[in-house]
C-alpha cells in the first residue's frame, strides 16, 4: 500500500519538478531520492504484515509477498537509476517526464502485487502498460522507435481487450469480481469460466511475452531507446509475472479446473523455452539477443505460475531479483558501447576489465551458474515444477534449453575475453563503477545466501 501511494505521488511530483528544475542532473537526484523514499516506505510496512495479510476495501490485499516483491521491484529500479539514469538525458528533452512515467509503471506493479479484485487487476495492467507505450516512442526522430511504440500500443491494447473479455466471462460464471470468492476450482468446470481463464491466460502471456504471443517483443525492445528496454525487459516483466502468479494461484488453483489450464500453460511454457532459446542463438546484436533471452527467461518464470506451491512464490521473487539485476547490469554496460553487435564486445576485457568482469558475472547469473543469484532462481523454479510432480517432461525441456542458453550468453564472454578488438567505450564515471560493483555484489551475495531474500517470505 505504501509503495503504491509513494510511487504514484512521486510520479506526480516529478512531473511538476520538470517544470521548475532545468538541470537534468538534479532531476535524476530527485528521482533517486524519491525511489529511496518509496523503498523505505514499502519496507516500513513489513511489521504490519508480520502476522498475516490484510485487505483494504475488498480491493487490495497487502501481504508479505507483495511487500517483498515491491521491495525487489523498487530496489531493482534504484539500481537501474544508479546505473542507467544518466542515459535518460540522451533520449530527449523531457527527462523529468520519463522518470515520472517510470514511477507510474511502478505504481502499476505495486497494484499488480496486491490486487484482490479483477477490476484492480485490469487497472494494474493498464497502469503498467500505458506509460510503456509512451516510453517506447520517446526517441521521436527515430523511425524504429516510432514503430516500436505504435506496434506495442496496438498489440497491447488488443491484449487488454482480451483480458477484459476474460474478466467479463469469469464474472459471468462466478458472479463476483473478488478473486478470493470466485470459487472456480470446484469439481465441475463452467464453460464460461474455462473460456475466461483461457482468455486471461492469453492476455497475461502477451504481457510477459510468452510464445506464441511474443512477436512484438524483439521489435519493441530493439526499437525502444535502450535505456527503457532495460527497464521494460526486467522490472515491468517481473511485475507482469506477479499478476499472472497471483491470479492463477489465488483464483484458479485446485480442483478440476486447474488441470485444464495447467496443460495449456505447460504447452505455452515449453514453446516459450524452445523458441526463445533457439531464436536467441541466431541473433547478431546483443540487444536483440537479450530480447530473445528475456523470452527464454519468461519460460522459466512460467514454471512458477504453473506449479502452485511455496517454492513457486519464493522462486518468482528470487527470479525477479536475479534476472532484473543481471539484465539491468548488462544493459547498462551495453549502453556504454557504440556497437551493439557481438563484435562490439570484442576485446572489452583488455580495455575495461571491470566492465567485462561485471558482464561475465551477470551472464553467469542469467545462465544459472552456481554462486550467482541466477542459480538459485533457476533452482527454485525447477524445484517448484519438480514438486508439482506432473511436470517432469517440462523440467527436462527447461534443462536442455538452459544448456542452449549457455551458447548465446557465452558468446559475449568469448568476445570480451578471447577475441581481439578495440571496442569504442564511452568514458565511465566512478559512480557508474561503484553502482556496477554494487550490482555484482548483490548477485554474488544472493548466490551464496538466497535465504537473505526468501527468508523474509
Amino acid at each position: 500500500m505504501n509503495a503504491l501511494i509513494s510511487t504514484a505521488l512521486s510520479g506526480v511530483v516529478l512531473m511538476f519538478v520538470g517544470l521548475f528544475v532545468r538541470n537534468k542532473q538534479h532531476i535524476k537526484f530527485f528521482a533517486i531520492a524519491a525511489i529511496i523514499i518509496a523503498f523505505i516506505a514499502n519496507l516500513a510496512q513489513f511489521p504490519s504484515v508480520e502476522l498475516g495479510s490484510y485487505t483494504m476495501y475488498g480491493m487490495i490485499e497487502v501481504s508479505r509477498f507483495s511487500v517483498l516483491f515491491n521491495a525487489v521491484a523498487l530496489g531493482a529500479t534504484l539500481l537501474y537509476f544508479l546505473l542507467s539514469g544518466s542515459e535518460f538525458e540522451k533520449v530527449g528533452e523531457h527527462v523529468a517526464d520519463y522518470f515520472a512515467l517510470i514511477f507510474f509503471i511502478l505504481a502499476g506493479i505495486s497494484l499488480a502485487t496486491t490486487f484482490s479484485n479483477l477490476l484492480m487487476l485490469f487497472l494494474a495492467i493498464e497502469i503498467m502498460s500505458i506509460p510503456q507505450y509512451v516510453l517506447a516512442g520517446t526517441d521521436r526522430k527515430n523511425l524504429k522507435s516510432n514503430e516500436a511504440s505504435l506496434k506495442y500500443f496496438l498489440m497491447g491494447s488488443f491484449s487488454t481487450g482480451i483480458l477484459l473479455m476474460g474478466i467479463a466471462l469469469i464474472y459471468g460464471a462466478a458472479g463476483s469480481f473478488n478473486i478470493t470468492e470466485l470459487g472456480l476450482g470446484a469439481d465441475s468446470v463452467h464453460p464460461l469460466a474455462l473460456c475466461g481463464i483461457i482468455l486471461m491466460a492469453f492476455a497475461l502471456a502477451f504481457k510477459v511475452s510468452a510464445v506464441p504471443f511474443h512477436f512484438w517483443t524483439p521489435d519493441v525492445y530493439d526499437g525502444s531507446p535502450t535505456v527503457f528496454t532495460s527497464f521494460m525487459a526486467t522490472v515491468v516483466k517481473a511485475g507482469g509475472f506477479v499478476a499472472f502468479l497471483r491470479m492463477f494461484h489465488v483464483s484458479f488453483a485446485g480442483g478440476a479446473i486447474s488441470e485444464h489450464w495447467t496443460l495449456i500453460l505447460s504447452i505455452i511454457t515449453a514453446a516459450t523455452l524452445i523458441l526463445g532459446n533457439f531464436s536467441a542463438v541466431f541473433q547478431l546484436s546483443v540487444k536483440r539477443m537479450l530480447a530473445y533471452s528475456s523470452i527464454a527467461q519468461a519460460g522459466f518464470m512460467l514454471f512458477a505460475v504453473i506449479a502452485i506451491n511455496q517454492f513457486a512464490a519464493q522462486g518468482i521473487i528470487l527470479y525477479a531479483a536475479a534476472y532484473s539485476i543481471a539484465t539491468i547490469g548488462v544493459f547498462a554496460v551495453l549502453m556504454k558501447l557504440k556497437d551493439y553487435t557481438f563484435e562490439g564486445f570484442n576485446g572489452l576485457a583488455r580495455k575495461q576489465p571491470l566492465l567485462a568482469l561485471a558482464v561475465t558475472i551477470f551472464l553467469f547469473s542469467l545462465a544459472g551458474i552456481p554462486v550467482t543469484a541466477g542459480f538459485f532462481a533457476k533452482y527454485f523454479v525447477l524445484s517448484a515444477a519438480i514438486q508439482h510432480g506432473h511436470l517432469l517432461w517440462l523440467v527436462i525441456v527447461g534443462v536442455l534449453c538452459a544448456a542452449i542458453s549457455v551458447y548465446y550468453y557465452f558468446r559475449v564472454i568469448i568476445a570480451m575475453y578471447f577475441k581481439q578488438g578495440d571496442p569504442e567505450v564511452e568514458p565511465v564515471s566512478n559512480g557508474f563503477k561503484a553502482a556496477l560493483i554494487l550490482a555484482v555484489a548483490l548477485v554474488l551475495v544472493l548466490g551464496l545466501f538466497p535465504n537473505l531474500l526468501i527468508g523474509c517470505l
Binding site: 551458474i369 524445484s383 519438480i386
Partner: protein, 471 residues
C-alpha cells in the same frame, strides 16, 4: 577443520594471486600447494586416528535444508591427496616457464583446486553440485585463454557438454530432495532413501549421464580428445589427472549408494558402454600420430576400465578402482609432464617429427620409459596392483566382460610402446638433435612421480588400508 582448510587455502590463495605481479603468483601457488599437500597428509593421519575430526557442519540455507557439510573418508582423503600432489607437480614443472598474465593463470588454477577439493569433500548434494560447477568454470577460462589455436570452440563444447550433464544431475538431486523425509540434501538422508524401482530406473540416467560426460565414457567422450589437445598442458594435467576422477568419484559416492537398484538394473549397459570405450579408444590411440591426442585416447581407455569395474560392484573391483584412481592420476600427470617438456623444447607434438631423443635427453627417456610401463600396468609399478584387482573383480562378475576389457591391456601395450619408440628411439632429426635434457624443476617433478610409481608398486598396503574402509 582440516577439511575446510583444504578448500580455503587454494581458494584464498587464488583470489590473492589475481592481485599479484611478477613472480608473486607462482611463489604463492607453490606455497599454497605445498601447504595443501601437508594438510592432505595430515588429514590422512587424522583419518586413521580419529576420523570424526575431519567432518565439519555449518548452517547454510536452513529454508532449503541444505548445510555446509564437508567430511573425508578414505576415498576423500585419497582424492584430496591426489589433487594436492597433482597441483604441486604442475607448479613445480612450470615454475621456470614464462606464462603470459601469470596472475590470472595461477589464480584460476588455484580456484579450480578449491572447487575440486570441494567436490571430493562434499557430503551435501547441493553443495556437491555447486562445487562441481565451480571446478569447471576456472578450467573453462584457463583453456580458452591459454590454449591452442582452436581453443575457443573446443573448450566451449566441453563446457556445454558438462553443463548439460550437471543440469540433469541437478534435476535428479532436487527430485531426491523431495523424497527425503526430513527434506535435506545430506548424503546420509540420500543414501537411506527407500526409492521405488520405477524411480531408480530413470534417476540412474540423470546421474549417470552427468558423471559419464565428465569421465568420459563412450559415447559421451567426444569433447575430450579435442579439449586435451587444445588446452595448455598444465591444465590438461589437471583435467586428466584429477578432474576425470570427479566422474568416478560421483559414481562411487552419489550414484551407487543412492540408486543401488537402478545401478544394478543398468549395470550391463554401463559396462558394455565402458568396454566399447576401452576398445574403441585404444584402437584410435594406436593410429594417432599426435602425442597429446594419443594420451587423451589412452586416458579414455583407462577410465573405461575403471568405470566398468565400478559397475562390477564387488569388493575387489572397487578396491582396484580406488587404488587406480590415484595411480592413474600420478602416471598420466607424469606422461603429460614429458609432453610438456617436449613441446616446450621443440614446439611440436607430432610423433613423426620426433625421434632419437634418448641420446640427446637421456634422463627424460628413462623417465618416459618407466612411466609408460607403469601406464600399461607392468608388475612392480603402481599400475599393476590396481589393474589386477579390477580385472579380478570384473572376472567375478562376468568372464566375458573381463576378457573384452582385457583386450585393453594388450592394445595399451601396443600404443604405449609404439609411442616410446617413436619419441625417444630411432633416428633423430634436425629438430630433435638440438633438444636439451630436463631442467632441475622438471627432474624433481618426474622423480616424485617415479618414486610414487615404485613405492606404490612394491608396497601398496598403506594406500589399500586408506581406501579399504570405504566399502
Amino acid at each position: 577443520m582440516l577439511t575446510v582448510l583444504l578448500i580455503l587455502i587454494p581458494f584464498i590463495a587464488g583470489l590473492i594471486a589475481f592481485g599479484l605481479k611478477g613472480s608473486g603468483p607462482k611463489v604463492l601457488g607453490m606455497i599454497a600447494s605445498l601447504a595443501s599437500v601437508a594438510i592432505a597428509i595430515g588429514a590422512g593421519c587424522t583419518f586413521h586416528a580419529s576420523p570424526d575430526k575431519l567432518s565439519f557442519v555449518a548452517s547454510w540455507i536452513p529454508q532449503l535444508g541444505s548445510q555446509f557439510r564437508v567430511g573425508l573418508d578414505g576415498m576423500g582423503v585419497m582424492l584430496c591427496l591426489l589433487t594436492a600432489i597433482a597441483f604441486l607437480l604442475v607448479f613445480i614443472t612450470i615454475y621456470n616457464r614464462d606464462i603470459e598474465r601469470p596472475n590470472g593463470f595461477y589464480g584460476l588454477m588455484l580456484l579450480s583446486q578449491a572447487g575440486l577439493i570441494g567436490v571430493f569433500t562434499a557430503f551435501d548434494a547441493l553443495q556437491f553440485y555447486i562445487f562441481w560447477e565451480l571446478a569447471l568454470i576456472p578450467v573453462y577460462f584457463l583453456c580458452s585463454m591459454w590454449g591452442g589455436e582452436k581453443r575457443i570452440p573446443v573448450t566451449f563444447k566441453f563446457f556445454v557438454y558438462t553443463f548439460l550433464g550437471s543440469l540433469l544431475m541437478l534435476v535428479g538431486i532436487i527430485y531426491l530432495y523431495f523424497q527425503t523425509p526430513d527434506h535435506s540434501f545430506s548424503w546420509t538422508s540420500f543414501t537411506s532413501l527407500q526409492l521405488s524401482m520405477g524411480d531408480q530406473k530413470w534417476l540412474f540416467w540423470l546421474f549417470f549421464v552427468a558423471f559419464a560426460i565428465k569421465m568420459p565414457v563412450f559415447p559421451f567422450h567426444t569433447w575430450q580428445p579435442d579439449t586435451y589437445d587444445q588446452s595448455p598442458t598444465p591444465v590438461t594435467m589437471i583435467l586428466s589427472g584429477v578432474m576425470v576422477k570427479m566422474g568416478l568419484f560421483g559414481l562411487l559416492r552419489w550414484l551407487m549408494p543412492v540408486v543401488p537398484q537402478g545401478a544394478a538394473m543398468w549395470t550391463d549397459v554401463a559396462i558394455v558402454l565402458s568396454i566399447i570405450g576401452i576398445i574403441y579408444a585404444s584402437c584410435i590411440a594406436i593410429v594417432q600420430s599426435d602425442l597429446k591426442r594419443l594420451i587423451a585416447y589412452s586416458s579414455i581407455a583407462h577410465i573405461g576400465l575403471m568405470s566398468a569395474a565400478i559397475f562390477a560392484h564387488n569388493e575387489q573391483s572397487t578396491q582396484g578402482v580406488l587404488l587406480q584412481m590415484f595411480n592413474h592420476g600420478i602416471n598420466i600427470i607424469g606422461l603429460w609432464i614429458i609432453v610438456e617438456v617436449i613441446q616446450n623444447r621443440l614446439g611440436v607434438k607430432n610423433m613423426d617429427q620426433l625421434g632419437g631423443m634418448a641420446r640427446k635427453a637421456p634422463r627424460m627417456a628413462i623417465f618416459l620409459v618407466i612411466i609408460s610401463l607403469a601406464n600399461i600396468g607392468l608388475p612392480l609399478t603402481n599400475g599393476f596392483i590396481g589393474e589386477f584387482l579390477m580385472f579380478s573383480g570384473l572376472f567375478q562378475y562376468n568372464h566375458w566382460f573381463m576378457a573384452f576389457a582385457g583386450l585393453g591391456i594388450i592394445l595399451a601395450a601396443v600404443y604405449t610402446l609404439n609411442m616410446v619408440q617413436k619419441v625417444i628411439f630411432g633416428e633423430g632429426n634436425t629438430l630433435t638433435d638440438n633438444t636439451t635434457d630436463l631442467q632441475p624443476g622438471e627432474t624433481l617433478a618426474l622423480s616424485l612421480v617415479v618414486i610414487m610409481i615404485f613405492v606404490l608398486g612394491v608396497y601398496p598396503q598403506p594406500m589399500l588400508d586408506l581406501v579399504s574402509k570405504v566399502f
